[in-house]
């Protein structure tokens, strides 16, 4: 895990006092509301429907037990006993009082955390594969890159007032768990023919009201050139991105309107200019700092174990629930005898991503005891124990069961992503949490969910698409039609390396109709799939939308 140096410590503290001072200047009238707002947002503080919301960054989704306990403490002391894990590896507190914000930020700084740049028209919290450093399929750990970008982008003097927000994601695996193609910049680590490490650079992806799949702007960027190249992209965007219309201000629109060829030429010219600047590029990474960062992400000392755990096999033979959970919620680890555990924050009838204080503390303890003191937050709003011995899985399962966190549904139909929607969000046109809750009850039976297999449902409460509905196998978008909630269904989306934007199935349906319609759709899929290895998305690609459209609208 990364550890702050004196500069990080100083800076995070200075930011807290700076924000207290900014708030004071707002109260004095030295800053107008307009002038204060972006400063507030760049410190993670939103004004929502009922209260302020504080969004805390969990850089690239990695945290330790101490940090998780602080998140729990904040929820207990300054919120209503829970926090909400988001699709961008942040945690949101929905009931923050303005007068507490300084104290909360200080408490975060105590454990090397912050809320800096989790909002506003700046470079946001950088996200990464939540299985980083653990996944069996990984080429290289993406987190040193993500940390370098965090450092470079924090209070970047040139890029704090961009046309719009800017999101970067990094993956080190060919299996893209970081949704890189739906980001302003996506970086995929790879090796060239000579075996050198570098990145494929993807630009201009995004969801929101105009979903776009990112385009490759550079096939192979050597590692050392990363920051000057990012700087070049950002400079072109900052100078030429649209500022006349906030809905057209993301880089995806600039890329779309300029064309990727022309965009590439401009970026490469800017990059060349920097590489030839007097004294070399200003943001060339300092090798000492890069080495320092990398050393912090060195893998923990994994015990050498046989890959098959007899303890686990015996326990699974005696406990069917454990077996189902292991099958669904663990993934291959790079070290033999180890596994990656996904703790689904998706209990039946609960709001996706909401974790209580008690649950956060249980997770902290499990991380400390069984996972080399590491935890991760995934963009699927789940918590990951990345480095677990298979021998320990039965004990972990039993602890999770006691805490109400043992849902065996990772990757299954009830592993739903949903944004806060009308329950919290000022921009919402419809509720999303109750829809998720209803669906999770309908498919609660573990055997049924297991029979359906991998199936992603993603729900947003308005066109901004925070719930990623465009890239769900089934996407649900809550709109409003003459004062009544109306849900539009999209089919065939995919958030992985084979990313696709779902297609609208037809006219919107009412809130009560969503559950039954999805059940009919699922039945139609089960009736038509070749066998249980054919996922819904595969069947959809094979036979098209029509049969599913008929099922959805059969009532």
């Amino acid at each position: 895990m990364y550890r702050y140096d004196e500069f990080d410590h100083d800076y995070v503290r200075a930011r807290v006092s700076e924000f207290r001072d900014q708030t004071q200047r707002r109260i004095d009238g030295a800053l107008t509301e307009d002038e204060y707002k972006p400063l507030r947002l760049q410190n993670g503080l939103y004004l929502q429907l009922h209260a302020y919301m504080l969004r805390v960054a969990i850089p690239y989704g990695t945290l330790n037990s101490r940090q998780m306990r602080t998140l729990a403490m904040i929820a207990e002391r300054w919120d209503e006993g829970y926090g909400h894990f988001t699709t961008r590896q942040n945690i949101q507190y929905n009931w923050t009082r303005l007068t507490d914000v300084g104290d909360i930020l200080d408490a975060l700084a105590d454990v090397e955390m912050h809320a800096i740049q989790t909002s506003g028209n700046c470079i946001r919290n950088v996200t990464a594969d939540h299985f980083a450093g653990a996944a069996a399929d990984e080429i290289e750990d993406p987190r040193p890159t993500a940390e370098l970008i965090r450092q470079w982008s924090t209070a970047h003097p040139e890029f704090a007032f961009l046309p719009r927000k800017f999101k970067v994601a990094v993956t080190g695996s060919p299996n893209d768990r970081a949704v890189t193609k739906a980001h302003d910049i996506g970086l995929r680590m790879l090796r060239n023919a000579a075996g050198e490490a570098g990145y494929e650079v993807i630009v201009g992806g995004g969801l929101g009201r105009t979903p776009m799949i990112g385009k490759v702007i550079r096939d192979f960027l050597p590692k050392d050139d990363l920051l000057p190249y990012l700087e070049a992209i950002l400079r072109v965007y900052n100078l030429h991105g649209r500022r006349d219309n906030k809905y057209k201000a993301r880089i995806k629109i600039l890329v779309h309107e300029t064309g990727i060829e022309d965009m590439r030429a401009q970026v490469e010219a800017e990059f060349e200019r920097q590489m030839h600047e007097e004294g070399g590029p200003l943001v060339a990474p300092d090798p000492v700092q890069v080495a320092r960062i990398e050393s912090y992400f060195a893998p923990p000392a994994f015990e050498v174990l046989p890959d098959r755990s007899e303890t686990l096999e015996v326990a699974m033979a005696n406990d069917a629930a454990l077996k189902t959970w292991v099958e669904n919620n663990t993934s291959d680890h790079r070290a033999s005898g180890h596994a990656i555990v996904t703790v689904a924050i998706k209990g039946t009838g609960e709001a996706p991503g909401d974790a209580t204080t008690a649950q956060m503390r249980v997770l902290a303890t499990l991380g400390e005891r069984y996972s080399h003191d590491e935890l991760r937050i995934s963009h699927e709003q789940n918590v990951i124990l990345p480095h677990v011995r298979k021998d320990d899985l039965p004990a972990i399962f039993s602890a999770l069961r006691k805490a109400g966190l043992a849902s065996a549904n990772a990757g299954l139909i009830t592993d739903i992503i949903a944004c806060p929607g009308l329950d919290y969000c000022a921009l919402a046109t419809a509720r999303s949490i109750p829809v998720a809750q209803d669906l999770s009850r309908r498919f609660a039976a573990p055997e049924r969910a297991a029979a359906i297999g991998n199936f992603t449902i993603k729900i947003s409460g308005c066109i901004n698409a925070c719930g990623h509905h465009h890239v769900g196998h089934v996407g649900i978008l809550g709109l409003e039609k003459s004062g009544i909630e109306n849900y539009q269904i999209t089919l065939g989306g995919d958030h992985t390396e084979t990313m696709a934007v779902g297609e609208r199935a037809g006219p919107g349906i009412s809130a009560e109709e969503v559950g039954p319609a999805i059940e009919r759709l699922v039945d139609a899929y089960l009736d038509t799939r070749v066998d249980e290895t054919e996922r819904f998305i595969d069947t959809y690609r094979r036979i098209g939308a029509e049969p599913f459209r008929q099922a959805l609208y059969a009532a």
């Binding site: 800076y11 700076e18 900014q22 030295a30 003097p157 040139e158 704090a160 100078l239 200019r273």
Partner: protein
């Protein structure tokens, strides 16, 4: 319209500004008013005769000026660089890092935001820049 530098407020110097089109090879020393949508590559041939380049900030949330300033410094401009219009004290350090030497604001704003609010700007220096000594500011010649 006061001018702000690291030493504080100073009165307006009423610079006479020329536009890019006014500059010819026979123009003497001049101060240039460079709009945000100008092509920065058209400026270097005049660098030697420019004492000042003034970049407008139509609103503080419009960050184009920061990139334009960086670009001009990267192209080798060594004269004075001024940001004029609506910036807030919290952006002063950003402006300096991007290569500006000074900021000019309206009198209304100067009344509202006292000098001391502008001059304690270095309190939150970004760590990335602190790690590399020197930062980005190039002194004016």
């Amino acid at each position: 319209m006061p001018i702000i530098t690291d030493t504080g407020f100073a009165p307006d110097d009423d610079l006479a500004l020329l536009c890019l089109d006014d500059l010819t090879d026979s123009t003497g020393q001049a101060a240039l008013d460079l709009p945000l949508d100008a092509d920065p590559d058209a400026v270097p041939r005049h660098f030697d005769r420019l004492t000042h380049i003034v970049i407008p900030f139509p609103g503080f949330a419009d960050g184009r000026g920061f990139s334009l300033a960086r670009r001009l410094r990267a192209l080798g401009y060594r004269g004075r660089l001024r940001a004029a219009g609506h910036l807030i004290p919290d952006q002063y350090a950003f402006a300096r890092f991007c290569g500006f030497d000074e900021v000019q604001i309206s009198s209304e704003q100067a009344d509202r935001q006292a000098e001391s609010q502008w001059t304690i700007h270095t309190r939150a220096l970004p760590p990335f820049l602190r790690r590399r000594t020197g930062g980005w500011t190039q002194p004016a010649t």
